[in-house]
Amino acid sequence: MIEEEIKPFESASEPQRRTTDFRPLDSRVVKLWRVSCLIGFGVLLLSLLIPVVAAGVAEPRTLVWLAVAWLATASAAVWFCLWYPPRLYRSWGYRIDAKVLETRSGRLFQRARLLPLSRLQHVDIERGPLERMFGLAALVLHTAGTHSANIRIPGLEAAEAMRLRDHLIEIGGDDAV
């Protein structure tokens, strides 16, 4: 077997590593995140409404204050659901070269994850009802790793997700552990 010369780290300018720019997610994901955020908070707030009303009926004087507190919480939640998704969207990006898939995400705590494509075990496409409504899909990449065994790229355009999956399966997929 031919043992090729391995360059030390100092001259680690591997020829196949051409840095490309990060690709953004599909911009419809902002809407998706807003809707799912509103639904999540909505359920929570509505279930909070029951004890609020109950307490208000039992002690009518507190009703005003409880209602004010509830409304304040609700408007804060709505504001957050409108404010946060576009920022999260801007922080998200992914790029693929011949060997590595890289994602970056997070606003306050930023992280970049790099997945050597030959370590890819399998690729899933996830489409919930909301995602189907917006024509989006999430790509989930599984490795044999422990802590970040799967990497999820949300909010891809459905056809793009399929294309990406086929591409990844084609170039990746050396199962050995």
Binding site: M1, E4, Q16, A112, S118, G145
Partner: protein, 524 residues
């Protein structure tokens, strides 16, 4: 050709006849409590119940022995048992990580063993063959690993890879004598062993002694000690010291005894590609793992061991499941104790293509060497420590309003020295095939990861990291049950972290497994 004859030959086997005796013995432990029914409950009913239990146990044991078979068919090891409902399990040969063997005292009398077949999946043993004769296990092990090697050889045949079919003789890498084991025991954390011992004695005594005895002992002790302490403080201090010393001494004796019982006759050897371990005074255990299956190796230098220049080696294969039992049975360590200076030559045995510099030295000229993180780490560590000290002082002061409560502030200079020491020990080493990371000052741990075992790389930045231009780099591998997670290095300059991450990911992606652990770099 040899491979053809191997493929043609049929491998089949059955359990040892003593299986019946051992299963009955195991079941007997469950039956004995039921016997009490005979003496206390309704005698006729109790007797019938007991007979029913005994009969069903005997039937199960017989059925297990007579129906249990295993065979190798194609590339799978198949176990099968059951009369009405036939249970069959197929394990692909190339997924078998190791065949672990345990031999209790009674097993040794009859020269039989329990064999457990481990695969990469979490959740413990895939199949348990209990009991087999020793020679049968050897036969099984040889059959499994030779065939598995052949399967891999075929997979790599297209690449022109040649493989040695038959493993050469066994080479002993390390044997631990009583002196080593005593050292191992003495450097364990004694307080914990002493407490465990005290707990065990307490439990034991509680069963034997009557409650009133405790009460009397407690009263006497209290009376005597208060009279004793009234006179003078000095004897009290002396007594307390003596008690502490006694506890530590007992702890030392106890942990040495445990070390000897657990690891007596520890032998680590290499035959072909497989590392074998054999150890144990009462229960003899042996296991083997192919060295190319090592995903992460951890060189652990805990406080006491570090002081004496000793280290423990742990290794993870791809299973990620850890049992409490693993720690008690010593499965979690590859080599319980070794001189730190002997680790580097050992690394070259575990990883024949190890190409990084010495792992022990601080700075070594020539070749690949340790690199440090940003100097900002010192400032950061010191500030963090100082804040903790200040908070502790504030809380204590708030509690009793005395100047003396501010003593944690005096620790602040110490905090600085600790962060300098931590900084000196935090670092990484990246060679063509290996990535090493090291952290910790009082207790230091070094992770060695073959780059072809890297599953993912992550660069993480907290808001504070961003302000300082730093980042944390972590490397993910399969199976981190015994090494406590893969390498993680914080306080790296962000550009350097990105550069390393990209280099690691690209090199990992370019390597594949072909037959033996020899990786190949492709230019694409």
């Amino acid at each position: 050709m040899q491979s053809e004859s191997l493929a043609a030959s049929v491998f089949e086997g059955r359990l040892h006849p003593l299986t019946i005796a051992f299963s009955l013995l195991k079941a007997a432990r469950g039956i004995i409590p039921a016997m009490s029914l005979l003496f206390f409950g309704n005698k006729v009913f109790g007797f019938m119940l007991l007979m029913a239990v005994v009969a069903s146990t005997v039937a199960t044991a017989l059925a297990r022995y007579f129906t249990f078979t295993y065979r190798i068919e194609g590339n799978e090891l198949i176990t099968q048992h059951g009369i009405l409902e036939r249970k069959q399990r197929s394990i692909p040969l190339e997924r078998i990580q190791e065949i672990r063997v345990e031999q209790g005292v009674l097993h040794r009398v009859f020269d039989v063993v329990d064999a457990k077949i481990e695969t990469g999946g979490g959740g413990g043993a895939e199949a348990s063959l209990s009991v087999l004769s020793r020679s049968e296990v050897e036969r099984l092990r040889r059959a499994v690993f030779e065939r598995a090697a052949r399967v891999r050889g075929e997979a790599g045949a297209g690449q022109g890879e040649e493989r040695v079919a038959v493993a050469p003789g066994r080479v002993i890498i390390r044997r631990l004598g009583l002196k080593d084991l005593a050292l191992l025991g003495l450097t364990t954390n004694h307080l914990i062993s002493a407490l465990a011992l005290a707990g065990a004695i307490w439990n034991f005594a509680e069963d034997l002694l009557h409650d009133s005895f405790y009460k009397r002992a407690q009263e006497t002790l209290y009376r005597e000690s208060s009279r004793f302490f009234m006179r003078d403080a000095a004897p009290a201090v002396a007594l307390a010291l003596a008690v502490a010393l006694a506890v530590i001494l007992i702890g030392m004796i106890f942990s040495t005894a445990i070390a000897i019982i657990r690891f007596y006759g520890f032998t680590l050897s290499l035959s072909g590609e497989d590392l074998h371990r054999r150890y144990g005074l009462l229960t003899r255990r042996s296991s083997s793992l192919p060295r190319r299956r090592i995903q992460v190796l951890k060189i652990e230098e805990k406080l006491f061991r570090r002081l004496f220049g000793l280290a423990t080696l742990r290794a993870d294969t791809s299973g990620d499941h850890r049992d409490k039992e693993d720690d008690d049975s010593g499965r979690d360590v590859l080599l319980p104790i070794t001189r730190r200076s002997a680790v580097d030559p050992l690394l070259r045995i575990f990883f024949p293509d190890f190409d990084a510099g010495p792992t022990g030295g601080a700075e070594v000229a020539g070749g690949v060497e340790w690199r440090r993180v940003s100097r900002l780490a010192v400032r950061r560590g010191a500030i963090k420590g100082a804040v903790v000290c200040a908070l502790a002082a504030a809380i204590l002061f708030a509690a009793n309003w005395r100047m003396a409560a501010l003593w944690p502030l005096a620790l602040t200079p110490l905090v600085y020295f600790v962060s300098v020491a931590n900084y000196r020990n935090l670092g990484y080493m990246l060679s063509g095939r290996y990535f090493c990371a090291r952290r910790g000052w009082a207790g230091r741990s070094t992770h060695v990861v073959p780059i072809d075992k890297i599953q993912a790389v992550e660069v993480h930045q907290s808001p504070l990291d961003r302000r300082l231009g730093l980042a944390t780099l972590s490397v993910d591998t399969a199976g981190q049950a015994y090494t406590g997670g893969g390498p993680r290095i914080n306080n790296l300059p962000i550009d350097e972290a990105r550069e390393i991450a990209a280099a690691l990911a690209h090199r990992a992606s370019a390597t594949r497994y072909i037959g033996d652990r020899r990786s190949r770099i492709e230019n694409g």
